[in-house]
Amino acid sequence: MDESSALETLPVFPLRNTVLYPYLMSPFSAGRPASVAALESALAREDKLVVLIAQRDPRLEQPGKDELYTVGTKAVIKRMARSEETIEVIVQGVERIRLVEMEQSTPYLRARVEALPVRLEEGAEIEALQRELLSMASEYLSLAQPVQAIDLRQVVAQFEEPMQLVYFLATIPQLDVERAQALLEAPTQMEALTLLHQYLAHELQVLKLRKEMAGKVQSGMDRQQREHLLRQQLRAIQEELGEKNPEEAEVEMLRQRLDEAKLPDAVRQEAERELSRLERLPAASPDHQVTRTYLELVLELPWQAETEDQLDLTRARQILDADHYGLKEIKERILEQLAVLKLNPQAKAPILCFVGPPGVGKTSLGQSIARALGRKFERLSLGGMHDESELRGHRRTYVGAMPGRIIQAIRRAGVKNPLLMLDEVDKLGRDFRGDPASALLEILDPAQNHEFRDNYLDLPFDLSKVLFITTANTLDTIPRPLLDRMETIRLSGYSDEEKREIARRYLLPRQREQAGLSEQQLIVPNETLMTVIRRYTREAGVRELERLLGRLARKVALQFAEGKTEPVTVYPAMLPEMLGTERFFLEQARKELPPGVATGLAWTESGGDVLFVEAILLPDEGSLTLTGQLGEVMQESAKAARSYVLSHSDRLGAERPRAGIHIHVPAGAIPKDGPSAGVTIAVAMVSAYTGEPVRSDTAMTGEITLTGLVLPVGGIKEKVLAARRAGIRRVILPAPNQKDLRDLPEDVRQEMELILVEHVEEVLDAALPGLAGRLRFEAGRSAAG
């Protein structure tokens, strides 16, 4: 191109930090005197042309020829406006030029330049590169400024000059001046495209990474900032209202409570330490809440507070009598304890364990003891608890840690000497998380529990003033060491007469009240109560009885609600209509027993029960089969009984003394154990061998030895009551159990025929009337009976 190689002399405007590409418009402002002068000179020209060349070092105020790049852009000034010191211009690049010679450097740079056109090429490669650049630039724009999306393709479509695309796309990423200059200096179109591709790829990657990092930081920042802002606003509002901010107010309140609280020195020290820690913690920290909860516990625990015991024995006796019928032994024990406390206030509280069947009033007895003593009552059930931490708490380091149930109960009670009832101590579980029974050992040991350390509290708390009462249905499942720490008191089942009294004094009034009836409206005579007790319930306690009385009361209430006015007296004859048919039959004992069946008595967790022992001879010789879920002790007891019977078979006059025998104890699905069925098994065997039936009105209990001695057994009261419930009036008991008969209510003793025996032959004598003639007692043995 001949004409473009002609030299032109033009003013030079040095650029800092940027490059102007041909074809592109760009605003600039000139502040440096040399730049202003250069622009003035350009503006004075008819064609308004100026040369823009980037300076190598942007910090230079007055760059000379050597400080400028040699390649720049000739541009025409399209718009111009002045402000005080500066000239603002919008220029449009016209073509690329090379600086040939600097003609003058003051007052402004003026140079001779020659056009330096880019060598253009054509081909698929150029086309491909251009398209690729376009899509990269689009992606870059959509990432960098997603809001002001422009359709690059539309803009590009209007381009006429081949290099216009490259230069336009080069303004999209932010290129530093070196790279921009390198692009401007690219001698061919191909090189320019390749260079730009390289730049764009790099910038795109950087942008993506920045975006990714920003995204990560952003999500966390947004939430925190929001919370922070809201808190600041809240604080501002509170200040405006003259309130303190909640954290400060809270700490202040806690401090005030701490000052007022009566705490032991060690505890106070620890609490102060925690409080100062709380002050330093930001409210948002999870530890803040944990520490606050802990402090509240420490402040609420009754370190010193206690109630004064009511040591008025007469009053205590009145309360106990008013709340519970019977239970003489227990009431005595409580009154003894009261007396001890009266004489020695520092005495250690005993740990009582009430053992008895369900529904006999163990828990309510605890409540009335608390009332009699004037102590606070708290109760917690240990049934099914299998985690030691439930009793002793979790260490505070754990998330969601809580104090143990003991400390929680004390906190609820608000005094350090409440009556703490630990229900169902026999139903403690245990698993890999620990053994709560072992934790109870410490809690229930008066020698240790004055320094009980809850894991959560981590401060010694004095439990020695607490009156612990535990309850259990059976002692068998309580670990020995634990049982050893407790004083067990048995609550056996109630007799029918006792139940009647309980019903009359407590249950009936309570149910009447619940049904909204007055005393006059519902009258239940004694015989009706007796019928309900005997024919509708079979239990050691009174729960079912109370339910039935409740039903009775509701039926009557319904009648009144429907308009009845005159009082209702419930006679026994009305019961089937009100409670349904009788559930149990008094003559529950079998009317006639075939040979080989004897009536035994068993003690169960729910009181006593009647059981039958069945024996039958087998055709083979010498075998012994035992069925009915018999435990090991009971099986051995059966073997002993059989050996005794075999050794005396000749005297008993057995028809087939060597015959095998099968013994079964229904109900077959219920496991049974214990030695107390020994005599019953022996009697059943003798009956089977001799073919003589056992008296059906007679029940028996007692352990047997090989020599035929009858040894004492437990649960006499329950067993006798069970026999009586079943309609049996004769009971054979071991003679050493005579002392237990005192527990029986007077009327029972009167009504029942109780036969005390020392030797099994006396049992046979009493139970097998048909044998009396055949039995040949030894003279001495007979005399001893």
Partner: protein, 124 residues
């Protein structure tokens, strides 16, 4: 990269949108096209352009006008205070629904406008 380095190209981009940055190099005069009984009259707003600096061509159905506008030389002591008029090359193409070669072209410069007449009468 310092913040300042980042900001300079950024502000530059903010001032002009992509469309503005990429204007065609030549400015385009506003143009009116009239139908006349003789043929066509095309008027172009070419104020301040010296007549000698205007070229008119036809090619097929296109009428092309191009040239450049130069400022008047400034007297000594004068300077521009503000500039809005483009003093540079201009180019405009107008497409008409007929072939233009057979038509007679005459142009005249009147009141800052270029009048180009295309008439069927008096064919070449």
């Amino acid at each position: 990269m310092s913040i300042l380095d980042d900001l300079i190209p950024l502000t530059r981009q903010l001032h002009l949108t992509a469309q503005e940055r990429s204007r065609p190099l030549c400015w385009q005069p506003a143009t009116d096209i009239y139908r006349t009984p003789e043929g066509w009259l095309i008027k172009m707003e070419l104020a301040g352009v010296r007549q000698g600096d205007i070229e008119v061509h036809t090619c097929g159905r296109f009428l092309m006008v191009r040239g450049k506008r130069s400022d008047t030389p400034l007297r000594k002591g004068c300077s521009l205070h503000s500039l809005e008029i483009s003093y540079s090359a201009f180019e405009r193409q107008v497409e008409l629904p007929v072939l233009l070669e057979p038509l007679r072209i005459s142009s005249e410069y009147r009141d800052g406008m270029l009048w180009v007449r295309l008439s069927t009468r008096g064919e070449r």
